[in-house]
């Protein structure tokens, strides 16, 4: 494939520390509510097909960021009418989100929703995240599984405890009124998204996003969303190191 020229440009841009400019004109399909759904994915071949199948039904623009998967994630995603970006190597979820955000903004997105690819989220919740954004009420919406009415009793006890402590630490640290720090369902207006630069490639982006919201003084709102715990997502989420990292990030944030 002819990547020679592009590659050199990329190297130059990387050296200069600046990000990419679109060569031609931007896509001009900016209708009243041009909303993009960003789906970071790493080795999710077993579930991403189902997730995308449901998301496509919403009729929104979808961009999947395949974060250097070593399985057939790309192939599964390509069966659906979605944009797919592929990281040549695995960089981490934070980096994948940033790539998706950058691409969506470049394509003229007005509203951006991030949505995990492991089947935890319900596509039906997206409308609730989008509502306050399109109404001009807030700049950022954050999904929470610990909201008042929809208190989700599916959350395993240990995981709930870890997330509760993490949220408490994040409240103390950033001053934000939040109940769930590690919910992959988030919504941003383009204005807010343009100011977000995730530098932590790994999972620490959760605390980094909160820091940016607090620092830039974005208006924000938590929205009740459901989280579905499948045996698959539980296996992924319940590693001890995962809990440790969640707590560490929320207590110490960017100090690392």
């Amino acid at each position: 494939v002819e990547i020679g020229g592009e590659f050199t440009r990329a190297v130059r841009a990387a050296k200069g520390g600046l990000l990419l400019r679109k060569p031609g004109s931007t896509v001009s399909n900016s209708k009243a509510s041009n909303c993009w759904i960003i789906v970071p994915a790493y080795n999710e071949h077993s579930l991403i097909g189902k997730v995308l199948g449901e998301l496509v039904e919403l009729g929104r623009q979808i961009v999947v960021v395949d974060d250097g998967s070593t399985d057939s994630t790309w192939l599964e995603a390509s069966k659906h009418p979605v944009h797919i970006l592929r990281h040549a190597v695995n960089l981490g979820q934070g980096a994948a989100l940033q790539t998706g955000i950058f691409f969506a903004l470049r394509e003229g997105a007005e509203y951006l929703i991030t949505f995990d690819s492991d089947g935890q989220h319900s596509p039906g919740d997206i409308a609730a995240l989008l509502g306050p954004l399109t109404a001009g009420e807030v700049q950022v919406t954050l999904g929470t599984r610990f909201g008042g009415q929809m208190r989700n009793d599916q959350t395993p006890r240990m995981r709930r405890l870890v997330l509760r402590v993490a949220a408490w630490a994040a409240r103390k640290r950033t001053g934000l009124r939040i109940t769930d720090t590690h919910n992959g369902l988030r919504g941003f207006t383009a204005e807010a998204a343009r100011q977000i630069e995730i530098t932590h490639n790994g999972m620490a982006h959760a605390s980094e996003i909160l820091e940016i919201i607090a620092h830039k003084e974005f208006t924000y709102k938590e929205v009740d969303v459901s989280i579905e715990y499948s045996p698959y997502s539980l296996k992924k989420g319940q590693k001890l190191s995962n809990s440790f990292n969640i707590l560490w990030d929320q207590f110490f944030g960017k100090v690392r």
Partner: protein, 145 residues
């Protein structure tokens, strides 16, 4: 950096000879081995790693210093006692080595972070340039159906 390392290796290995009662006159074999090793490393540094002028100067100075202390290991003890008030040259070397290694680790760490940042930018640019577009026929409009 490398030149300091050479210096320390040279001294650290030459020095224990004093403790063993050789009285600063270690056997000629180890001295030759250390000097040859230092020389080869310096040459390697010159040839393979194209470095700045200051770096080269430091390598030369480091190598010369190494030769001096390898030939005369008692010198480090004199410096330790008279300049720093430390009992043995070996101890002085240990302290300096610890500080040197900590500095080295920090430098390497920051280098790694910078590389990581560059890699991320590179991978991101490539990903966006080679974006896979959805089939035009089925392309969603961005409006809810």
């Amino acid at each position: 950096m490398l030149e300091h390392l050479l210096l320390f290796i040279g001294q650290a290995q030459a020095d224990p000879l004093i403790e063993e009662g050789v009285g600063g006159h270690g056997g000629p074999v180890i001295k030759i081995v250390l000097i040859v090793a230092g020389f080869l490393l310096s040459v390697f540094y010159f040839k393979k790693l194209k470095s700045a002028m200051l770096d080269r100067l430091l390598v030369v100075v480091g190598f010369c210093a190494m030769v001096v202390v390898v030939i005369n290991p008692g010198l480090t003890t004199e410096i330790a006692q008279n300049v720093f008030g430390i009992g043995r040259g070996t101890d002085l070397l240990l302290y300096l080595t610890v500080v040197f290694y900590m500095l080295l680790i920090m430098l390497i760490f920051s280098r790694v972070r910078a590389n990581e940042r560059h890699l991320t930018q590179l991978v991101r640019e490539l990903a966006i340039h080679q974006a896979h577009e959805p089939d035009k026929s089925e392309k969603p409009s961005g409006e809810p159906r």
